[in-house]
Subunit: 251 residues, 2 copies
């Protein structure tokens, strides 16, 4: 994390720190997350992709992500402050566009996201089984889910920056006291979180339905699962990122 | 195309040549195509990605696809007879699982698909403009669209094989006479095509809507555009693949 960022003024800093733009991006990212989960649910678990049993060997998925990130880095993916790599140490060092406070800008909790995705989420969205001709398509689909989730969760940094700029006096005492619980309380609006959970559940119903010219009522990914994903994981992790960011905001 | 396939019996040949499985795959692929188009529509055209003006230089997108295909090939993507690379000459030669008749199995019209996608489709689904921090995300999104379209269109090979096996007597005379128009007529069922166009338009309305807790009526990608895409391009190209396949079916 430390000193990977350089100070220079970015042309699009204004939009990234505009609350309405952020709100729209977060809402739009819900669609991307749900599309990608639905696409992942096309394939069975394919657990050989995730197998790390060979001593110290990375899994096929790890290799796939690392190599895909190298390709995407060449096209400039990680020069965008909205993007965080899963294996940043394998990539050339970056000059970030310093939209954010430098010590918080490089917060990257992708290893948490990857672990949770592999251990908790895949078993819930993918059917049991193995379908070896689709390993690459499955891995590509995992990467799309992970990138969408990562973008959503790391938007927390921008949200925290905007909130801090908006009312530094509310946050400064808790930051100075390193009071994580206090910060978490300042960042928590239960009615907003309830509305998000309802909205993503509705989106999962709409996007995951089997659309036929005649209606039926089955879903590709359980809508209540997506609501639970947001409630138990995406929202808490986004707030975790916000707290971590704010704790460094006065460095 | 020629001799890239070897004969050996595949374990899943049965499912790939089962008409009901194929029908379900084609219907499911519609969702993938529409999700990927909606995702591409998040970004502006970003025409610098497609620029080939430097003498003989490939575009950034070409490089991106080539390198991504190399990564996906290592994970086995192109060992699946459902998958066709956009730059197969850059990949190690393959032993295809010979579900299909060998001379037709290697039909690959991806250069047509890529051209049409770049010249016709992108200007219709992406807003004008440039958004340079999202080039890599845009390219990844292009690749997802292209792969979904390619899979859908090349399913034509399996459909043609099933139809031929079902009633060789109907197809053999036209094949021997190299009668493309006659084959096209045998493969055309207007009422089925109309139903597909209606269904994809409906899917684009359902998947592309802005889902809010209160309803509104805007779409991320114009539903009638998706119907037109299928009517003028996806269905004709799938039939083109079928005709090409059948013409080689008796080699």
């Amino acid at each position: 994390m430390g000193d990977c960022c350089e100070i220079e003024e970015g042309a699009y800093a204004d939009s990234l720190l505009n609350l309405e733009w952020l709100r729209r991006s977060l809402v739009r990212e819900e669609d991307s997350i749900i599309f990608s989960l639905i696409e992942r649910s096309k394939y069975p678990i394919n657990s050989r992709l995730y197998d790390q049993s060979a001593a110290a060997a990375p899994s096929l998925l790890h290799l796939f992500i690392k190599e895909s990130e190298a390709v995407q880095a060449k096209a400039g993916r990680y020069t965008s402050p909205e993007e965080n790599a899963f294996f940043p140490d394998s990539l050339p060092p970056l000059k970030h566009n310093p939209v954010l406070h430098p010590s918080g800008a490089c917060i990257n909790i992708n290893s948490k996201i990857l672990n949770h995705y592999l251990n908790m989420l895949i078993p819930l969205i993918a059917a049991k089984g193995d379908d070896d001709r689709n390993y690459a398509a499955t891995a590509a689909s995992d990467l799309a889910c992970l990138q969408a989730l990562s973008r959503r969760i790391h938007y927390g940094k921008f949200v925290a920056e905007v909130k801090f700029r908006d009312s530094p006096q509310d946050y400064t005492p808790a930051i100075l006291a390193k009071d994580k619980d206090g910060l978490m309380k300042l960042l928590t609006f239960e009615s907003v979180e309830e509305a998000i959970k309802k909205r993503v559940e509705k989106k999962a119903m709409v996007f995951g339905q089997e659309v036929e010219l005649q209606e039926n009522g089955s879903y590709k990914v359980k809508p209540e699962l997506v609501s639970q994903l947001y409630g138990e994981w995406v929202i808490p992790l986004t707030k975790f990122v916000q707290v971590e960011y704010l704790l460094r905001r006065l460095d």
